[in-house]
Assembly symmetry: C2
């Protein structure tokens, strides 16, 4: 029997308890040991819930109990999660977490402490919810030089963009619906401004390249400026608009950013709708692969956390996670990244001749019911040149990068 403790009895924490109870037999068989939840840590009480019998308010009960070999951290946020996790690892307990903030900020340090103590720090649920992606990157995509990793990494924004597309509704309307359904937070900033996706692409990139990509260095745009008109053009083009986090190798340089992008129907991520997530990986020998599933939600996220617990139980005394050094991963200046751009400008502000002079050859796009503006797709150009040119233009309604 292996004793575990769960830090935090919120959505994911209660999901972890539920998954372990529901699938007890299967999980124990796969782990090769009976998994017993000895403690749940939460500051609150849960009268009437069976969890009350194993509830503690004192983290030290867990830290000081040598019988606890695996700790699940699902409190979220940096503090006190960071301190707790560090102490657990130093005390020789493996840790499984769903906490993307913690992993993006302190991943390399925590992995190093785990390695020193011959235990494991695993975080499958920190990116892509229930989708197996961290473990496949660590153990399956090992024969390849990965040249691109691009993901739809945030379920809230994908839900909003899907509804805007399908219902022709505005961003504000759909956000409100999403909030009413519980798919978006009352304060949605972390999702809609891209911050959540930014931390997740930082984690994926760091795992793949083995060095630390500081998420604050990643150019990040959200979806708040995407309009119903943009979707009319997307329909005319037969493409979808998705918020992606991407890291791509061009020559010897890695470029990383988070932004809405137009994907055509040939892109494996273009058909990923609603709250689903998808992660696309290109390797120099395996070519294109893609992983799809529920990027959030109580049980899918808990499923990933428990799969880490199973792996930790199977690997007692053996560190299995690829290293991810504290050394900074060098990435290129965003101004040097090369992209194509969809851009909409007021017809008052510019003529086609001027567009030709500024951008060279472009492809014009028209959409039914949208007048008084010029919309076009540029050739490939650097972000820097594009920013310099667009700085000179008044009344730009929209800029969306194009992945085709």
């Amino acid at each position: 029997m292996v004793n575990i403790a769960v830090l935090g009895y919120g959505t994911v924490g209660s999901g972890v308890v539920e998954v372990i109870n529901t699938n007890h037999e299967i999980i124990n068989k796969r782990a090769g040991e009976e998994i017993n939840i000895k403690y749940v840590l939460d500051l609150r009480d849960f009268p009437g819930d069976p969890v009350q019998q194993i509830l503690t308010h004192d983290f030290n009960d867990i830290l000081n109990d040598d019988e606890v070999k695996v700790v699940v951290e699902v409190m979220g946020g940096i503090n006190p999660a960071y301190t707790f996790v560090k102490q657990c690892l130093a005390a020789g307990k493996s840790v499984a977490t769903s906490n993307k903030e913690l992993v993006a900020s302190h991943g390399p340090e925590l992995l190093a402490i785990a390695k020193e103590n011959n235990v494991n720090f695993l975080f499958e649920a920190s990116v892509g919810g229930g989708i197996p992606i961290i473990r496949p990157l660590n153990t399956s995509i090992t024969a390849d030089e990965v040249t691109e990793i691009t993901g739809i990494l945030n379920g809230t924004t994908n839900y909003i963009l899907t509804k805007m597309d399908q219902e022709g509704a505005s961003y504000d309307e759909v956000l409100k619906q999403a909030q009413d359904l519980g798919y978006a937070e009352r304060n949605p900033e972390a999702d809609v401004e891209g911050g959540d996706a930014c931390r997740k692409i930082a984690i994926l990139t760091s795992i793949v390249y083995g060095k630390h990509l500081d998420y604050t260095k990643i150019h990040t745009e959200g979806i708040t400026k995407i309009s119903t008109e943009d979707f009319k053009y997307a329909d005319a083009l037969g493409v979808s608009i998705k918020l992606v986090g991407t890291t791509k190798k061009e020559g010897d340089t890695l470029y990383s950013f988070v932004a809405p992008m137009m994907l055509d129907e040939n892109h494996p991520l273009s058909g990923i709708h609603d709250v689903f997530n998808g992660i696309f990986v290109h390797g120099n020998v395996v070519d294109d692969i893609m992983f799809y599933g529920r990027g959030a939600g109580k049980l899918p996220t808990a499923s990933a956390v428990v799969s880490d617990v199973v792996d930790e139980v199977k690997h007692m005394g053996k560190n299995i996670m690829a290293s991810w050094d504290a050394e900074a991963l060098p990435i290129g200046d965003f101004r040097d990244a090369v992209n194509r751009f969809f851009i909409r400008v007021s017809a008052d502000a510019i003529t086609k001749d001027e567009i030709q002079k500024l951008f060279g050859d472009v492809t014009y796009v028209t959409a039914e019911g949208v007048d008084g503006e010029l919309a076009f797709i540029t050739s490939s150009m650097t972000e820097g040149s594009f920013a310099d040119i667009t700085a000179k233009i008044d009344k730009i309604f929209s800029i969306i990068r194009v992945a085709f």
Copy 2:
């Protein structure tokens, strides 16, 4: 340094050598050891190819060399692959193979020999080419009761069906094109009659449920009867036709079959085209997940084989594969499986009244340019009832199962 040997220098074997040479540095870093190809076994000579220096015609050179710790079996077929692999495992060498026939026929025995000898028998490349699926099923989907696994598992047939759909061409025309392009064998039976997909769904099912599903017990239909008219109806319905291998739990019973199926656009496999493969998994807590990539091809397949080699080098002396017992996995009688059916019957042979009497309520479908027949989709019914009813009807043009 770890010495390995490659049995067979055909397409995949030369791919394995190429992948190890091309990505030498990355692979060695991930394996934590330098991987050295000491032997390549082939009956042929390859004058001018650098492989000639490490070529042997005698398997005993490899078997008797204690320095060889990992053997790659990419010869295909049951014999002599089976004998060679068994001898290697018994001699304490780990084996990585892409050989689906070998795995489907002798998987449990070879896994057991590997376990006894504290080595590994891995076969990531045997299903889905470069797609990570065996390892995720073994190590990631461990918190779930899997209730369905359905895959587009054969690239040749998916290519043929995609072209028939996109070009309105007949099966025979597209098969010929595919043969000319090298996407289909001159003798295409194993692909087009579903035998390849059958072995692959048998492997996936056995891994998930831990007991042996004998592939000869799986009801298997191919794509040779799919016609341009079927695609006209599929277009009218807005669905795609894919050859799937599927195992699904209904109540406490597992049903498994290989057959063409109509998938609507909400199905994660519906957008998988050309030679790509996809594997859809439903777990009781993780919900839907899907894995996508190149199901065949020299380098993608070799990428998966080499990822197994890396895993074996990382796990010297530790058996890591979940057990898959020789005991037969009980599956339900195919006659008891419940499906919905799309069916096309000559208008001479039956009236709508008779259809109502035989099938109860059905949904009629019409397609532009197809006359003289009645096409409809049944309600859910058992395969047995369906077979009994259709046995009474003359001039049935087509029967395709429906997944919506």
